[in-house]
């Protein structure tokens, strides 16, 4: 993938993350009182709501894509051999996908009532 494509993704995910984290924080203490928002049953009900659950999944993907690409940038600037750059690209891609898969699994389990 071209570096400019990754940078485009970085900019888009940065804007989306600000918006989604903003919504998330509104629901976690502004529109819904904090104590209530973090109660176990309320958190589960958020996952079970189709729109809220989807927003959480999008937030997960957006933040992980942004964070892991940022980490990749730091690592490829740290050392500059071609093998290191290649290794970092692959390692970060695998780590990002694995983390996304694990987070998505949590969203699915909670949304489908397999956590109670």
């Amino acid at each position: 993938m071209r570096e400019s494509t990754l940078m485009q993704m970085q900019y888009v995910t940065a804007v989306l993350a600000v918006l989604l984290v903003g919504v998330h924080l509104l629901m976690q203490g502004v529109l819904v009182p904090y104590g209530e928002a973090v109660s176990f049953q309320r958190v589960l009900s958020v996952y079970r709501d189709a729109v809220d659950g989807a927003l959480l999944e999008i937030l997960l993907v957006v933040v992980l894509a942004h964070g892991f690409n940022g980490l990749r940038t730091i690592l490829i600037e740290w050392r500059q051999t071609p093998s290191w750059t290649r290794g970092v690209n692959w390692a970060v891609l695998v780590a990002a996908l694995a983390t996304m898969a694990y987070g998505t699994r949590t969203v699915i389990l909670a949304a489908t009532g397999q956590v109670s």
Binding site: E3, I76, E77, Q80
Partner: protein, 265 residues
Amino acid sequence: MAGEEVVLKIRRFDPSLDERPRVEAFAVPLKEGMTVLDALIYVKSRLDHGLAVRFSCRMASCGSCGMKIDGRARLACETQISSLPRGAVAVEPMDNFPIVRDLVVDLERFFARHAAAMPGLVRERDPEEQESPTGEYLMAPGELESFVQFTYCIKCGLCSSSCPTASTDALFPGPQALSQAYRFLADPRDEGEERRLERVDAEHGVWRCHFAGTCSAVCPKGVDPALGIQLLKRHVMSARSPFGRKKRRGAPVFPNPNGDLLGQP
């Protein structure tokens, strides 16, 4: 002024002989209008012939005399001693370059990067026009304005020596080469866009600039390489995006009605 002296504290280092650099102090009689280069020439001619220092034009045109003066990258020939804080003047070689000896650094990689930025017009449709011109390329004044400041670069290397990314990423082309890449991408006469983009849109290319801005702060010719890099980023994004604004390319040749370019019939 008469009878006054300035002390230069010069960092000396010969990689073939010395284990580590050392600082030597030289007292130089001060003259009105004296530049750091004048003082260094005095040291070299009167006090220590072995001092290695590179210079040529003595008028901020050739870009040979870049060095670090009182901690900041400057041209020695345009830095007046009177413009510096009073006291001893620290003179060191530029950062981010291998040292040849004393104040002389090796600019080979710097020029190789400049060459890699393809600093010349690429014409696909009429390559022979550059060899035997028949007229002039048409260009609007606004188009020239968009890149003309980058043509003032004298390749002194001060910007690259001050760049924090260049000091940590050995593959980063540096502000000089990147702003030159922009200079030709913005030029409506050029047709080498795709080849230029391939070179800068890379893992250690234009995106590694974190906009510290030190390059522009030290440029002695008023070029703003940091701006050039930001414009280059925008150019790459626009060129790569289906929705991006595209630059006019391949300005046509306007035949010279007066004969050849020297006006000979």
